[in-house]
Symmetry: C2
């Protein structure tokens, strides 16, 4: 190898090092933003200021830094060469090829005339719109795949894993209604309004782009509002409605986006006039994708439960936590690889992990997984908001269509209006503890947009239409997140009582409880206790599932009592014996196990445990062994008995350590 | 926007989705490998089989899957077009440009003759060697930057954070000698031998490539052996020597690699005959890079300590843990951005975090950070070994030069030989508790190679020489990791006693202790107790630092007693008051705080605490308040008093929870 050739290699080394230095600088930028956010949040919390949530701060800091980068940094050398295909191209596709091979003559020796031919591979990065930006600015952006494959899954998983299941299941019917019907209404209304405005104004987005925008922007993310709800102990049913809707509507919105993409594909390839068929097929695909993803996530959750139940892996908590993590992330990846929706899969996987696997985990793995996801969730969420802020200035592919953005706010307003109020009215026809008007107003106003909408928008920015959508989405997220800080005022204006059922606050809110006596909302004090009975149809379905869960799923999947030996008919006993672990049989004597179970799941599923024959059943053993007597089921049927019995048990069983943990939860939600 | 144009966008969407699907499949592959590894490791541990460490398993599974992918999957369509610069290139560099702009004519309408011009950007990915591989195989590889920026830092940080500091400091002199001098010897011997072989055989690597290889392959990673040492409770001094050397020699090897790159650059640009100057400059750079990185990491660690000491962020453990994480990772990124070595910075940051910051953390943050890094370390380490296995078959740029690989094993052998034995001989001249011959043999045999060497090798594979290095490194890592499983046999053959000083095993090894009585090694039973005194020069330096640490650093940086008010002279009291936190002053009354401090740092720094005036000082308060009396300093001076006093205090203070945590540690190391 000649000296000159070596010199070239060294230059290449330098080039790589420079690239690496820029990458580091880039990551460092976000680390510094996050550190600033953490310290500011701490100061805010320390001084009990509530008008700015951490995500809002992250976004604002991101905006400032993004603007600084944009307007102060000097363009650095980023070289490009315009090329064309060599005379006889072998590639005939209508799309750009994946790679280019660039033949380049390089001087072999600095003095002589010798040249050597080298070939370099180049990978497609996108369409060229404007490459005048400087390298640092371009580098302050990441591959959108990173958002989807790395950043989003833990956020969504954590939503499922930390779901306050009792109140979620109590309001399941309403939540499902808002999530499925509401999100669909919202998507189509926004898409329609946006398209109509488009016809009036100068901008002309395609109908499909409008619908695409409608679907992705329908994923709400009221993280700011929920944090304040949590701090102020707002009515638990309102909390459940807002949180439940936001969790599930992400899933629905994502599947809607996929369905619209599918429709576009079907429509484009269909012969003329068969739009109706394409439409029907798209609807079919919607249900297929949703249900398959749901099933996949649940199956992965249950598989983890079985693995942790029937192996002694709990003797090695590190292996156990690793397995838990890997299985959960796999549910996301399998779904994505199978053209389903990973977000939906990982959400339901999270719910199953909390519902079943959590019971089988060792104490250490429980703490570890909770802590891990809480921390990761905090960091990724703030990262994504910082990124939204920075990228608003530095992302090279923004399309500032102010007409589109202006109209978007109006269509968002209309879409949310036609989602919440009509559905609340419909639900109130059957729902006994009606959703009062001030709750409806709050839900209407809780339609903030966040990480999911942004991640969906940045995923594909190849065309101008999609770039316009990204810009509009970024602006909407920024505006709504900052506005979320007004929640405290909103609650005041709407006359929504705060400091309500402080069941889960024993750890953090003791003085709060003494300060403000539990104020029950304008809804019934024990809403579903009677509500469920007025709703026999819905209640029956939920109760059926609850009974099945208690009699079969939990005994099969967890180490909790009762065992399958107790719940299955005599004829199945050989099978039941096989599916019952030794630990499960000796459960009664090991008390340490379930103390934490209630303590860590924030005490809010104490009634589920108490009534559902879960680990809490030990505290009321005589009543439980029979398992699943209809009026014990609590999954949404809201048996007041379970609800009232559980707290003392939970309180008694809660170890002192929980006191410490309460802080973490309090600040995260 | 016309229908056809929309159709093109849809096709582009499809293309992106396909790419995403492949990415997911690719990640899924590694998740499945990790799940398999976790389950197998569990089975092995369950059956007490020790001949295969988890990293070895990960690697073997990786090899199997890599081979399957290579030989079974059918090549899928990966399109490329050969291009050349358009007639008047504006770019005149000798290196390939960063981007290509490809002008492409796309049919606008499937039926008509209309075309539209579009321009796409392509980014440089490397030199084309052989692109006949299939897409999946190419995808089963990741951007090498990911290893450096994401995977390595937590592994290295965890090494520093979980360092068993007592034994490390006791053997500091020997460890530094092996790490600095030994690694340098090893690098140059391997480089030289490799180059000499090259002259004899057909292959002709350049001298610089040989030295580069020598430097990177000198980073040892005896993770397998350390795990077995830990399981078998091998002599703590041997453990400290092997662990300490491996931790520090990574740092040295990385800086050496940088120095050689710098030398190459200086040499290439220097006028003829000024090689000596280039060489001297490279040596200067070596020390500059090492010392600056060391300082940077330490400063970041101390900054975190100050932040956690003087703010009340410990009231919010989630924020506290986030800050801890972000500051630690920033130390890596700042170093990388400043052209220093992030690995060195993050290592010393980890040591400082453990030494100072850990004392200021809330109980919850202690558990959380320990757990977090343990889990991440476990996952990333196994991931990297899986990846080595898979990439051996799928990485498109391997250069199989069997002569080079064969010679590499010989030069490795020679390099290790000339590192361990001469240095041990030299050290034994002054060291009183000599390193016995069987320990030397064990250290010689503990020169496994692992993650660091691989990450360094894969970082730059642009030239053929570097590709050869990568292939050789992969093979060496694979062979040595699998061979590491023989450690138990090796210990037996070498007659090295196991089940020794079981000081830190109270949590896991109780029955082990009863089974095998503590067997003291052939070294003195209390080695450094006398050893330090025979070594007054070294001891004085270490003692000076220890006193400074006790009298100034710890009072300044931590919440532990004594405070600066007690250690500084009277004239500095106003300043000292400013730098003393209220918590520090009220420390005596809050006992809960330091119980955990000893329990969690694995009890092994109990003597440091006990003697160094750290939190442990409360248990022997009268003796400590004066702080830093010379014979109390234990940092390497090995005061037998501190050593013997601490364990009872630690044992008394250890809460029951520690028992659970012991499992995790036991299985990780």
């Amino acid at each position: 190898m000649s000296l000159a050739s070596e010199r070239n290699d060294i230059e290449l080394d330098e080039k790589i090092k420079e690239q690496h230095r820029i990458d580091s600088l880039n990551l460092l930028l976000y680390m510094m933003l996050l550190i600033t956010t953490v310290l500011t949040v701490w100061m805010f919390k320390h001084r009990r200021m509530r008008y700015m949530h951490e995500t809002g701060l992250a976004l604002v800091f991101g905006l400032v830094v993004g603007a600084l980068i944009r307007y102060t940094s000097v363009p650095s050398a980023i070289s490009h060469v315009e090329v064309k295909a060599v005379s006889h191209p072998t590639y005939n596709g209508t799309l750009p090829p994946d790679y280019l091979w660039y033949h380049m003559k390089r001087k072999r020796d600095p003095v002589g005339p010798l040249v050597e031919n080298r070939t370099y591979a180049y990978r497609l990065t996108g369409e060229v719109e404007d490459l005048t930006g400087n390298q640092f600015a371009q580098q302050a952006t990441f591959d959108p795949e990173i958002f989807f494959n790395i950043i989003l899954p833990p956020i969504i998983f954590n939503a499922g894993y930390s779901l306050k299941r009792k109140f979620f299941f109590r309001n399941l019917g309403s939540i499902l209604c808002f999530a499925f019907i509401g999100t669909t209404i919202s998507a189509f209304v926004i898409g329609g309004v946006q398209y109509t405005f488009g016809l009036l104004f100068t901008y002309k987005p395609s109908l499909l782009d409008c619908l695409y925008f409608g679907a992705l922007i329908s994923a709400t993310d009221p993280v700011t509002i929920l944090a304040i709800f949590n701090d102020l102990h707002v009515d638990v049913n309102l909390y459940a409605l807002v949180f439940g809707e936001s969790v599930l509507n992400d899933a629905v919105a994502i599947v809607l986006v996929t369905a619209i993409e599918n429709y576009a594909k079907l429509y484009a390839t269909a012969a003329d006039g068969f739009e109706a068929i394409a439409f029907l097929k798209a609807i079919g695909l919607f249900f297929y994708v949703f249900c398959s993803s749901f099933l996949l996530g649940s199956v992965m959750g249950c598989a983890t439960a079985l693995l942790t139940k029937f192996t002694h892996i709990r003797d090695f908590p590190l292996l156990e936590s690793s397995l838990f993590l890997l299985m959960s992330y796999s549910s996301f990846l399998i779904a994505e690889a199978a053209d389903l929706t990973g977000i939906v899969a990982v959400l339901f996987c999270g719910i199953c992990q909390a519902h079943y696997t959590y019971n089988n985990l060792s104490d250490e793995a429980r703490v570890r997984t909770k802590d891990f996801f809480e921390l990761i969730n905090f960091l990724t969420e703030n990262f994504i908001f910082s990124y939204i802020g920075v990228s608003l200035f530095t992302f090279p592919k923004h399309q500032w269509d102010f007409a589109f953005i202006g109209c978007a706010f109006i269509s968002l307003f209309v879409g949310r209006l036609l989602n919440i109020y009509p559905l609340s009215w419909l639900l109130n026809l059957r729902r006994n503890p009606k959703i009062p008007l001030n709750f409806q107003h709050m839900m209407f106003l809780a339609g903030l947009r966040g990480a999911i909408a942004f991640a969906l928008a940045i995923r594909n920015t190849y065309s101008v239409g999609r770039q316009t959508i990204l810009t509009a989405t970024s602006i909407i997220v920024a505006v709504t997140v900052v506005y979320g800080g007004l929640t405290t005022q909103l609650l005041l204006w709407l006359g929504i009582p705060v400091g309500g059922e402080a069941e889960e606050d024993e750890t953090t809110g003791l003085n709060q409880m003494q300060r403000t006596r539990p104020v029950y909302s304008t809804m019934d004090a024990r809403p579903n206790a009677t509500g469920a009975r007025d709703n026999p149809e819905k209640a029956r379905l939920v109760r059926l599932w609850s009974n099945f869960d208690t009699a079969f799923m939990k005994p099969l999947l967890t180490n909790a009592r009762p065992t399958l030996l107790e719940t299955l008919p005599m004829c199945c006993h050989p099978l039941a014996r096989l599916l019952t672990s030794t630990q499960q049989l000796t459960q009664d004597t090991s008390n340490k196990y379930d103390d934490d179970g209630e303590g860590f799941l924030e005490g809010d599923d104490a009634s589920l445990h108490g009534a559902g024959g879960d680990s809490g059943s030990i505290h009321s053993n005589g009543r439980q062994i029979g398992g699943g007597a209809p009026d014990d089921g609590d999954l949404g049927t809201g048996s007041a008995s379970g609800y009232q019995q559980a707290p003392p048990a939970a309180a008694a069983a809660r170890p002192t350590r929980v006191t410490l943990r309460g802080h973490g939860h309090g600040e995260n939600l």
